[in-house]
Symmetry: C2
Subunit: 347 residues, 2 copies
């Protein structure tokens, strides 16, 4: 059985036994610091977009009811792991204790303000109070203690950016970092949900990488489209429902004058958009599904069904240096930073 | 609205409107040949493994009840698209008619015996009779008419191999073809479900590509492990339950003397194996999920949760030349051909 120095925190798993904390139905959230753990005094929980949408619907848009729902999930599971969407989110807080086994690591000390970059879906959380629910930004101000395992990634909070901006960008920082890897100079890129949190960072990064390549941004609704257009990174901004694959295919090929994309990146927060993405990719192109609403079978069978030889990638939330990369993207892209400040920094 | 020369068959979609045939709940299965279609007199339906397992369970392992279940699905949906698993399968039959719009294509003629390589989940099917249910091989002998759209991929049946062997290998032919692309000379490869239909082809192909690299095969149960070991392609055959990630991690690192894999390929037919695969991949390695039982969120959040910077790929069932590639793999690997003949050719 697992020792309390296991880097993955296996000893915190209560049921079922023998699985990892993320797969566990319930973990031990006792707020004590084992040898390979870091204890965090939590200030803010930043709930994953898909999860928050589900919680809001279940609570009829009532903040108080939503808070009750969060308490109930944490009471049952020992972590803020939405049982419907399967997703979590992340948190911000101050380090209060560091286990003896990792004390010599040197990249963190007691008193540091950090954001955990692993999902809340595997983070033991002892939740005492919810002070405030920010319905617009999916953030909760709380009084709580969280446990970070040795393998758990985190980032120190920057001092040149507002907390809430850093937190918002950390939540999606895998997306721009993966975009930087995927998009080559001159590539044609199509971005679904380009006006959302992850979509905006992907759009800015795609423009940096592609240079003069064509970039098509897809968003739903006038206001979101205008926000995207104002950034000036996209060659075309299409106001489209991403679930309507036939419409999407027609509009994108028209915008690209009959061509298709080298890279398609899906950043929407609704189900049913796999086929639209696949149809927009050229032969041997890549579709990167960052959206957690992606269905594995819809993507795999969809591509086969239309005979498309494309690479289908699952959006791994982690990639080395992703937090640092995303902060620098904001710092080096004032127009993007301005949108993030306006969207997330206001109280 | 869609014309009857649309290559994706949009005009056959009945509900909901505006989606592709695979996403449709119900398609028009009228057995007539529109301009961009090929009509096929079906002989055999080869049901996808995940779907057949579900059908068998629902039918209490009774062949007659299972046939009723298949009839009911086709009656409701106009296609053999399992509503529980979301998956389909493929078919074999003879071309009886070719639409005027694609008559000049030249790669197919009336009378050809072909296998459709697109999923049954989007293939309009008019099912008249089920003659026999082969419980062991998930195949049904039927009397039916199917429609292949212009974009629908297919393969001519080879005359040097038994039908059922060709059909079995076509069903999974995306897997070895993708393996050939992914595995480089000298790579370390871990294969989950290496004793199954797709797993066996992946194992053989991985050995061809990797050369002297280490290959670890994971299977569950003595018999399956012996079958794999007898092929002689794997350096280690581990008898493990792939859902037990902690056990898998320990056994694989032991077999690889503390190392991890460049490429991990998942060919199991059960859910809950994402984390095991992720833990076996080295930094910047690739995990290829061919299994349709893969959960998108479990994979994406799983990798993030343990801070693994790995490429997570959705197994696209199609890749150019995949049928041809798989047939040649069998022809050039007598030991593999022998297993397929023994497993699938027998009546
Ligand atoms: N892979 C990972 O590690 C990871 C990490 C974080 C988040 N995510 C996932 O990534 C997705 C996006 O997250 P986010 O924080 O960027 O969410 P977000 O800010 O809510 O952005 C989603 C965007 O999609 C747009 N959209 C919604 N429905 C659409 C439709 N039918 N057609 C076109 N656009 C549509 C939204 O437009 P409106 O605002 O007009 O509705 C919004 O701009 C979520 O599924 C989230 O769970 C994944
Ligand atoms: N992406 C695509 O386009 C595509 C196309 C075709 C099929 N598929 C999918 O690929 C998967 C495999 O298909 P297949 O035809 O190869 O199926 P299969 O022949 O049934 O092989 C599955 C293998 O996994 C093994 N297995 C089951 N549970 C296990 C466990 N807990 N631990 C270790 N091994 C375990 C099975 O062993 P036992 O025999 O001992 O149970 C079997 O050898 C299915 O999910 C199927 O839907 C995908």
């Amino acid at each position: 059985s697992a020792t309390q120095t296991d880097p993955y925190g296996l000893y915190r798993v209560l049921e079922p036994q023998g699985v990892m904390p993320q797969a566990a139905w319930r973990v031990d959230n006792t707020p004590v610091c084992h040898d390979s753990e870091i204890l965090i005094d939590v200030e803010i929980l930043n709930i994953d977009s898909a999860s928050f949408t589900q919680l809001k619907t279940a609570a009829d848009n009532d903040a108080g009811k939503l808070a009750d729902g969060v308490f109930e999930i944490v009471r049952q599971r020992g972590k803020m792991h939405n049982p419907v969407t399967g997703s979590g989110g992340m948190l911000i807080g101050r380090v209060t204790q560091i286990g003896s086994h990792i004390a010599e690591r040197g990249d963190v000390k007691v008193g540091d303000r950090i954001a955990t970059l692993v999902s809340l879906s595997l983070t033991p959380l002892s939740l005492r109070k919810i002070h405030r629910v920010d319905m617009r930004n999916a953030q909760l101000d709380v009084e709580a203690t969280a446990v970070l395992f040795e393998s758990g990634i985190f980032a120190k909070m920057p001092d040149d950016l507002p907390d809430r901006v850093a937190l918002a960008v950390f939540d999606v920082c895998g997306a721009p970092a993966q975009t930087a890897r995927l998009v080559q100079k001159g590539n044609t890129v199509v971005i679904f949900g380009a006006g959302g949190k992850s979509g905006l960072t992907v759009l800015a990064e795609a423009r940096r990488q592609s240079g003069t390549g064509k970039i098509v941004a897809i968003e739903y609704g006038e206001a979101a489209c205008e926000r995207v257009a104002n950034l000036g990174f996209a060659d075309a901004v299409l106001n489209l429902d991403a679930t309507r694959s036939a419409d999407v295919y027609q509009a994108v090929t028209a915008a690209l004058e009959g061509n298709l994309a080298d890279v398609v990146i899906n950043c929407v927060n609704v189900p049913g958009t796999e086929m639209s993405c696949i149809l927009c990719a050229k032969d041997q192109g890549t579709v990167y599904f960052f959206s957690m609403a992606t269905s594995f079978t819809a993507a795999a069978l969809g591509a086969e069904g239309v005979g498309k030889d494309v690479h289908l990638m699952i959006g791994n939330g982690y990639c080395k240096g992703h937090a640092h990369h995303a902060l620098n993207l904001l710092r080096e892209t004032p127009a993007l930073l301005a949108v993030f400040e306006q969207k997330f920094a206001g109280r």
